[in-house]
């Protein structure tokens, strides 16, 4: 603690779990939007990873609530946000949006994978066959007409899903940005910044997994899809970083009352995590790498390696951005006269080990999902789905 902070501000209450939560939902939203870029906007070059993106989004979604439940003082009352919701609060929308989005993604996956379920149903026997039968709601037929219906449903759901995904993640940004009490958080741009960096993290994790899994399985990647994703990543990351820098520039230029203390925040407690790592190494570094890859013709192996490194850098950048926003905002005192300090615990309930476990589980789950929703095999149906 340095300077003066209000006595209650010594305690930082939103810690590692609250950093992890927007990170996870960011990947949920980002992955979904990539999938929708194919299904709604018809970027056909993304077809090989469209189903993969969708299933990844779902896998991350299933574990999105865990950081919150661990953080809550009374997790057993978690459903109160839906039983007695107070709708002036951005947080009250969470339960409903999460449910709606979950249903939406599940439905989209269901329509997407109907053909695969049918083939599983035919091939399997016993209980597994029965389970697939229930999953198919008793209809095991597949023909051109059903394919068209499926395709239309997927397109509709993907279209509706884009704003829902944006709300699912954007509301977190709004949650922070609407806190007028906090000088670091309060900005109308926070909603947009969060969405764009969510897309960045979504594309990054998809690129990372796509390259990593195919490297593990020694199978070939679709170079076209990867190139498109890299280009999209480049574009989205530029927008995301520029938005954040514009916010900072505006603060530094207008120099209202809060700038004095925020300047100390950036050059003091947040110097390494924000300036050195988030801005210089991860943002500038990945920008240079991706510019290189996008603008200059390079041998494929080199460009793929650079893309891989950029995706890791950007995954780090988005995580650091969440850290700097969540933790950084709580370090500044509302007296504008000092800072408190924070070091994450390792083995605590909200510590780094628990965070690592919650973060890794969706990836393991994804591995199992591959068996039910095979995402790297092409869809056997003729029409695009």
């Amino acid at each position: 603690m340095s300077g003066f902070v209000f006595p209650n501000e010594l305690h930082v209450i939103w810690t590692v779990m609250i950093v992890l939560y927007p990170y996870t939902t960011g990947m949920v939203a980002g992955a979904f939007i990539v999938s929708s870029l194919y299904h709604v906007f018809g970027i056909t070059r993304l077809r090989p990873i469209a189903r993969f993106s969708l299933v990844s989004s779902f896998a991350f979604l299933l574990f999105a609530t865990f950081p919150l439940l661990i953080h809550l003082g009374h997790p057993e009352r978690a459903f109160n946000i839906m039983i007695t919701p107070h709708f002036t609060s951005a947080m009250s929308g969470f339960g409903f949006v999460y449910m709606i989005y979950g249903i939406l993604v599940f439905l989209e996956i269901w329509f997407c994978y109907r053909a695969d379920f049918i083939s599983h149903h035919t091939a399997a026997g016993g209980i597994v066959k029965a389970i697939y039968y229930v999953l198919l709601l008793g209809v095991t037929e597949q023909n051109e007409h059903t394919d068209q219906v499926d395709h239309k449903m997927v397109k509709a759901l993907a279209g509706v899903g884009i704003p829902v995904a944006c709300i699912l993640h954007g509301y977190v940004g709004f949650l922070f940005g609407s806190i007028k009490a906090n000088p670091w958080w309060s900005t109308p741009l926070m909603f947009i910044i969060f969405i764009f960096s969510a897309v960045v993290s979504g594309i990054s994790v998809l690129i990372f997994l796509y390259q990593f899994v195919n490297w593990l399985r020694k199978s070939a990647i679709d170079q076209d899809a990867l190139d498109v994703m890299a280009r999209l990543l480049w574009g989205f990351m530029i927008v995301a970083v520029v938005l954040e820098l514009m916010e900072l520039l505006s603060l530094a230029y207008e120099q209202t009352e809060r700038w004095a203390v925020l300047k100390f925040l950036i050059t003091g407690p947040l110097w390494y995590t924000y300036v050195v790592f988030q801005l210089l190494i991860c943002s500038l570094g990945s920008f240079l790498l991706l510019s290189f890859v996008t603008l200059i013709r390079l041998p494929k192996r080199l460009s793929n390696l650079l893309i891989f490194i950029s995706s890791i850098l950007l995954l780090g950048q988005v995580l650091l951005m969440r850290w700097n926003v969540v933790i950084g905002g709580q370090l500044v005192s509302r007296s504008y006269r000092g800072f408190t300090s924070f070091l994450p615990g390792i083995f605590e309930k909200e510590g780094l080990v628990v965070a690592a476990v919650i973060f890794i589980i969706p990836f393991l789950l994804l591995r199992q999902f591959d068996k039910i929703f095979p995402f790297f095999t092409p869809d056997i149906r003729k029409s695009n789905a």
């Binding site: 459903f79 839906m82 039983i83 007695t84 107070h86 249903i103 439905l107 269901w110 109907r114 198919l136 709601l137 008793g138 209809v139 037929e141 597949q142 023909n143 007409h145 059903t146 219906v149 449903m153």
Partner: protein, 318 residues
């Protein structure tokens, strides 16, 4: 058609889930929710049913009326009993018969208070209003010749009657604001007001009470300020209350013999014995004097200022 029945089915299932969700939500919602607003109405009564821990000095009066009267008469009347003694809580409830399952020992209230306790209010701090009574313990001990290091305030001062006032404090006379040097200066300046050119003109006691001040300068206590004994309590910018302090216990604050006090700094006496020793010399009855609160002044007008002078000026007994 049969082969698109799944679409219909899934949306029917979805609808059932939503409807049952809404029904469950209504069922699980607490009944008093929405009674006064978007919150559980019963919580108001729940919060208001919390037990009170502090009781206030009127409750202390029920049993401790003697000390209450003493306390109420003096300057600390605005300090609640519970501020120094801790909250009444179980002690009051036990003696009110509201609580049965604790022992008498557990219902005791702490009586002792440490040096720190007094200094919570009376320590000299730069941020405290200069007109508020505050001391730096080191300076204070030095001034009084106290040689011990762990001497508690209560060895000399009584927390219940700090000024030993004879008249009730609320009836003390209102007096125009008295300005001490320390009200503006950090420490007592070397030069007096009249020795500094351009110093703001400030009323001194002499301006209104010339005869008394003239008389005072002849006596042994003339090195002290008037306000050392006639304590002045500033109530607002322009006025305050002034106290007489003719109580012998006030004199004894400085002059009572204490083991921790340097007898060479301040003349000291062993009080009850002193009365017996001097009664015969002064040709007075020691028994009569023992209960007389202004007994010191009966003999020692030489040391103060002539209280007879006051009678002559005012033309009445005081």
């Amino acid at each position: 058609m049969q082969n698109t029945a799944y679409v219909r089915r899934i949306f029917i299932i979805l609808l059932c889930v939503i409807v049952s969700g809404l029904i469950i939500q209504r069922l699980l919602r607490p009944k008093s929710f929405g009674e006064f607003g978007s919150y559980r109405g019963n919580s108001l009564a729940e919060i208001a049913s919390q037990e009170s821990v502090h009781h206030g000095k009127e409750v202390c009066r029920e049993c401790h009326d003697k000390i209450w009267n003493t306390h109420e008469k003096d300057i600390h009347f605005s300090v609640q009993c519970e501020v120094c003694h801790g909250p009444g809580d179980v002690h009051v409830k036990y003696y009110h018969g509201e609580v049965k399952l604790i022992s008498k020992e557990d219902a005791q209230m702490p009586k002792k208070y440490t040096l720190e306790g007094c200094l919570f209010c009376h320590r000299k701090l730069n941020s405290r209003p200069r007109t508020f009574a505050q001391i730096d313990p080191v300076e204070h001990y030095q001034f009084l010749g106290i040689t011990g290091t762990d001497v508690r305030c209560t060895e000399c001062h009584s927390p219940h009657e700090p000024l030993f006032l004879l008249d009730e404090v609320k009836k003390a006379r209102i007096h125009p604001a008295i300005f001490e040097c320390e009200n503006c200066h950090d420490s007592r300046p070397e030069k007096g007001i009249k020795e500094v050119a351009g110093h703001p003109v400030i009323f001194t006691c002499q301006d209104c009470h010339p005869a008394i001040v003239k008389d005072f300068t002849k006596h042994k206590h003339s090195f002290m300020r008037c306000t050392a004994c006639h304590l002045f309590y500033r109530e607002n910018e322009t006025s305050g209350r002034i106290f007489k302090n003719s109580n012998q216990r006030f004199c004894l604050l400085c002059h009572e013999q204490k083991p921790f006090r340097d007898p060479n700094k301040v003349p000291q006496i062993d009080f009850p014995k002193h009365l017996e020793d001097t009664a015969s010399v002064a040709d007075v009855n020691a028994e009569d004097l023992k209960d007389n609160k202004t007994v010191c002044l009966k003999c020692h007008t030489d040391f103060v200022h002539d209280s007879d002078l006051i009678k002559k000026i005012r033309g009445s007994e005081r």
